[in-house]
């Protein structure tokens, strides 16, 4: 039961570039149900991406459009006819807002995850490599943020950045930066643990002997080796970013309906409709959230399982569930910490 198959590092060396690309190599490694999960995840994520890219072509109306050539849109109209998914209490077309919402979501994910990787990696490298009091302070601060409900951190940040007001691009940026602050501790921990482990490696020592500066060692020798787990955290965090964005929107920190479409905000508005049995204003944006998060989670989890030789080895014999996404990241982090 505890025999761990050897890590198949050699496989990666000579394969052509195409086969070494992250998702493709994972696909080739997968079998059975595991492959099914990865494929479903890729399809869901793919549709999400395509919808976001082609939103201007796909959406029948603009996200803030209230009337067309035939006059004003009816309010709270049931799905069917001119408005496939109905209209909201304000007279927006639900289908259009769901489609445009994917663009907002993707913008926020990209900005949030790129920013947090950037900040988290730099802090982790510096903290892990230099050590000392700076390291201690950063670790305590990161732990404090990490232990705190992420939605509350995001709320505080949203207040700081936008004062609760939401403008056009400002809203997207505010949401993205709020989410960034939640994620920095996670990247920080992983990179720091890796850096501490790598610091003791002979190649770092030889670089020191040759006379390389700290910045060069961090930026060139350690950085390259420490960032291998990032794609996994990226996909896991992308889904969490969507949930946080939707949560902020639901609490009224979303982007005003006239500036952009945001699923969480639409759900907030839809809440009042439910009591009178109007379901379409809430169900469709909600399904869009579930669709996207599900897709990203399935991809992330599959990659996580396939990266772990223990979990992957078991898949050969049958099937094996990975730990849940937060716990997976947790386990990844603790594995890294333990190995340091």
């Amino acid at each position: 039961m505890s025999t761990i198959p050897p890590v198949e590092a050699a496989v990666h060396r000579k394969a052509p570039l195409l086969k070494r690309l992250p998702v493709i190599s994972h696909f080739n490694k997968s079998v059975g149900l595991q492959r099914g999960m990865l494929v479903v995840g890729l399809v869901l994520t793919g549709t999400f991406l395509l919808t976001a890219i082609f939103a201007p072509l796909l959406a029948p109306y603009g996200f803030a459009q209230l009337s067309d050539a035939d006059g004003s849109f009816p309010t709270q109209q049931a799905p069917g006819g001119k408005h496939l998914l109905g209209t909201t209490v304000g007279g927006y077309d639900v289908l259009s807002r769901v489609i445009w919402g994917s663009q907002t979501a993707i913008l926020v994910i990209l900005v949030a995850v790129v920013l947090s990787i950037f900040a988290g990696v730099i802090l982790g490298l510096v903290s892990g490599y230099l050590g000392g009091w700076l390291d201690r302070i950063l670790v305590v601060v990161a732990d404090a943020i990490y232990a705190f409900p992420s939605l509350l951190v995001a709320i505080v940040m949203a207040i700081v950045i936008s004062g609760g007001e939401s403008s056009l691009l400002g809203g997207v940026l505010a949401a993205a930066i709020s989410i960034t602050v939640v994620f920095i501790p996670q990247y920080f921990r992983v990179i720091r643990a890796e850096t501490i482990r790598l610091k003791a490696e002979p190649f770092v020592e030889s670089a020191k002997v040759v006379g390389a500066s700290s910045i060069r060692i961090m930026g060139r020798h350690i950085y390259r080796n420490a960032t291998r787990t990032l794609p996994l955290i990226f996909t896991l965090n992308a889904s969490e970013a969507i949930l946080t964005l939707a949560g902020l929107g639901f609490l009224g920190f979303g982007i005003e309906p006239s500036s952009a479409a945001e699923w969480g905000f639409d759900l907030n508005k839809a809440l009042a409709d439910t009591t009178s049995g109007i379901w379409w204003t809430g169900v469709f944006p909600g399904l869009a959230i579930v669709w996207t998060v599900l897709g990203l989670t399935l991809v992330g989890e599959s990659i996580n399982d396939l990266n772990d030789p223990r979990l992957r080895g078991r898949k050969r014999a049958g099937n094996k569930g990975g730990p849940d996404s937060t716990a997976a990241a947790q386990a990844a982090i603790s594995a890294d910490v333990r190995s340091s």
Partner: protein
């Protein structure tokens, strides 16, 4: 080596002195150090929240800006002391916190601590109910999934667990509301109780504020039924979020323990498969749940804010959402700091419980 999910690495960074001398230190020392660690955590969060919220300006402008003439606004800012240097305000704020004064809300002029007394129990009740749902769903289903590993029940349950994670609580709440309250009409749409039972329960002597407990104590069965009916949907909405996580945790760990030698030994002696799962394997598999439960408390409090807003469950989260809409950032800051204290204390308790159960945690 078999547990795939280790205890959270809260002290794995080598920050704790006990870690360095691996042999020394007993449970007492561990508890003491864990207890002392609560304070820097709270202090850091309080400091960060304070300075972050003040960077952008004073709360009075945020709440009243545009609604008051500038001179009057200036006067109110001056009266409240927000025009003094930040460090002065900061130390005054710290001093207030130490004496248990979390500030007064701007919009309705209430003490934040008084608010905790009024609404805290509602949030506590919701969290307890949700935790019960999560355990009731997560543990048995996790056992089934582990037992029927790689078969249909396992696949179905795994998809269910991922769906639980992928559905935001407020959307789950909205669907539950639509189905069971609006269409089927089985359960009430929102709130904690009918006005009549609410009056009966709050009129009790020394009420705990946890409605079902109060109803039980006073023997008011009508109110108890009413309260229970109101509690179901919010508890399920919030509980499912965590149930998915518990399910997979139980499954993963149970599969790990089921592969151990003593299980094999039991099987060879003819112990039934059911008994092996429910009696022999599940106890060691439960240890990681307790540590993860600590992390889940923070997630649940975040989720409680959204659930309370969805179901108009008048707890701290509902108030927080209201104050956010009113742009009353003094109240928001108060509630956030309060929740920080609660999270820090819960994490402390969970760490201690984990150490009591599993001696390996405390080195």
């Amino acid at each position: 080596m078999t547990t795939l999910i280790e205890a959270p690495p809260s002290d794995a960074d080598g920050l704790l002195p006990t870690k360095k001398k691996k042999s020394g230190g007993g449970l007492g020392q561990y508890i003491l150090i864990r207890f002392l660690l609560i304070f820097p955590t709270i202090f850091i969060l309080v400091t960060m929240v304070f300075f972050l919220m003040r960077i952008t300006g004073d709360p009075i402008t945020a709440a009243m800006g545009g609604r008051l003439p500038p001179e009057q606004l200036q006067q109110r800012i001056h009266d409240a002391g927000y025009d003094r240097p930040l460090p002065v305000q900061y130390f005054e704020y710290l001093g207030q916190l130490v004496t248990g004064n979390f500030g007064t809300t701007l919009s309705d002029n209430r003490q934040v601590t008084e608010m905790l007394a009024t609404y805290g129990s509602a949030t506590l009740e919701l969290t307890i109910n949700a935790l019960i749902v999560a355990l009731l769903v997560g543990i048995p289903f996790g056992m089934i999934a582990a037992h029927r590993r790689d078969h249909l029940p396992d696949a179905v349950l795994r998809v269910f667990a991922i769906l639980c994670y992928a559905t935001p609580v407020f959307f789950a709440g909205l669907l539950l509301k639509l189905t069971f309250a609006v269409w089927l009409g089985w359960l009430p749409v929102a709130g904690r109780a009918k006005t009549s039972s609410e009056l009966a329960l709050t009129g009790l002597q020394a009420p705990t504020g946890i409605y079902w407990l109060d109803a039980l104590r006073s023997g008011n069965m009508a109110a108890l039924g009413d309260v229970m009916a109101h509690a179901v949907l919010p508890a399920v909405a919030l509980g499912l979020l965590t149930a998915g996580i518990f399910l997979r945790l139980v499954r993963t760990n149970l599969i790990g323990t089921l592969g151990r030698d003593y299980i094999e030994a039991g099987r060879s002696r003819g112990v039934s498969e059911f008994r092996l799962v429910t009696k022999h394997a599940y106890k060691p598999a439960l240890i990681p749940i307790i540590t993860v439960m600590g992390l889940q408390i923070a997630v649940m409090l975040g989720g409680a804010v959204l659930t309370e807003k969805t179901f108009e469950w008048k707890g701290l989260g509902f108030q927080l959402a209201n104050y956010l809409t009113a742009r009353d950032f003094v109240a928001v800051q108060g509630i956030v700091v309060l929740l920080a204290v609660i999270v820090a204390i819960t994490n402390f308790i969970v760490d201690i419980v984990a150490a009591l159960i599993d001696p390996r945690v405390r080195y």
